[in-house]
């Protein structure tokens, strides 16, 4: 399963949502599908994308928040899963692309070669960790159709959800994001706070 195909499957449904991504391949591929003001790319602070999403979800309970995370980042903030679970915002969906490698920080290479794997390559199951942390809904998917169904169901639903998608450790075609971090930083809250805006 390819990350880009997963993103394509949910892209139309992200309209009106607050979308927070991690750095690297996830941000670049979402951007490649067409940037929107309601997308925030957290280009550093690995592990904190879900914390940012939690802050949004609690402050705007009527807004759907979609966090698009990765195995490497989540493993840097496993405690954050417990904070999400106990806060239990019913408007937050935590999507985790699990390519079993620290691809975007140098752990991957063209052709899918993994020279720095994460612990998910050796048996760690993030969906089970999220479930055990207290997420009311958490599952792992390996096929595109299953991902699309689970992700759309979660976004349309009313329950804190975690969906771990096993994907290829494939580099994006480009890491280019032609929106400056600060431009992104200011347009994002404007989109979230403007009445009649992206909501």
């Amino acid at each position: 399963m390819k990350r880009l195909d997963c993103l394509k499957a949910i892209y139309p449904r992200l309209e009106g949502c607050a979308v927070v991504t991690i750095m690297g391949a996830v941000a670049a591929e979402l951007y490649s599908l067409g940037h929107r003001a309601n997308f925030f790319y957290l280009e550093h602070a690995m592990g904190l994308a879900s914390s940012v999403g939690l802050g949004i979800a609690l402050a705007q309970p009527n807004r759907k928040v979609v966090v698009i995370d990765g195995d490497g980042s989540v493993l840097m903030n496993l405690g954050g899963l417990t904070t999400l679970a106990r806060s239990r915002p019913n408007n937050l969906v935590h999507l985790i692309f699990d390519n079993e490698t620290l691809l975007s920080v140098g752990g991957g290479a063209p052709g899918g070669y993994k020279w720095f794997t994460t612990a998910t390559a050796t048996g760690t199951d993030l969906a089970e960790i999220a479930r055990a942390a207290g997420f009311p809904r958490s599952l792992m998917v390996r096929e595109l159709g299953d991902f699309e169904e689970a992700a759309l169901d979660a976004i349309n639903g009313d329950q804190l959800s975690c969906i771990v998608a096993k994907v290829d450790a494939e580099m994006p075609k480009s890491f280019l994001i032609d929106v400056h971090m600060l431009e992104n930083r200011f347009e994002f809250p404007r989109a979230l706070q403007t009445k009649g805006g992206v909501i």
Partner: protein, 172 residues
């Protein structure tokens, strides 16, 4: 427990007074009443963190959504949160109000608190984070208001260091 209930209330009221609606926290002895007040207040969202760095992300998200927030933490919590402060607040220019109980200064009886306290101010200074002490109840409200104003205007982290004289009642 000789943590000052009255002064905790003064600090809490000042935070409410500047429009804070979300607090993220990890407990430490001097913070017990502040966290309890937040927990008992139906108009306050209290996020109980597993580790302090998460709170930096939570506050950034709250800011994006238009809410004012603060973090309650201790010296070691601040040191733990440094990567988030640099990689989120400073890098993205996001206001962050931190109320840090300043353990390890004169009068500290707990040996394990004495190291973290030594480095809090030098690290704040190294990151060019504006900071001030809260020592007397009468300075709490104006300093919290000024700290929030500066954080919002400068789009930066600002720290207030809660001192023993304010938070602890037992004569040492």
């Amino acid at each position: 427990m000789p943590v000052s209930v009255a002064n905790s209330q003064v600090v809490y009221d000042a935070m409410k007074g500047v429009g804070i609606t979300l607090l993220s926290a990890l407990p430490e002895t001097w913070l017990v009443h502040l966290i309890r007040l937040a927990d008992e207040d139906p108009t306050m969202t209290l996020v109980r963190l597993a580790k302090e760095e998460e709170g930096v992300g939570v506050s950034a998200g709250a800011h994006f959504a238009g809410a004012k927030s603060a973090m309650l933490l201790q010296n070691h919590g601040f040191l733990q949160a440094i990567n988030g402060i640099v990689g989120v607040s400073l890098l993205y220019k996001i206001p962050l109000l931190m109320l840090i109980t300043d353990r390890g200064s004169f009068g500290e009886k707990d040996p394990w608190q004495t190291e973290g306290g030594k480095y809090t101010r030098p690290v704040l200074d190294a990151l060019h984070i504006a900071h001030d002490d809260l020592r007397r109840p009468d300075e709490v409200q104006p300093k919290i208001a000024h700290a929030m104003t500066l954080a919002q205007a400068s789009l930066s982290p600002v720290a207030l260091l809660l001192q023993r004289d304010l938070m602890w009642e037992e004569p040492e």
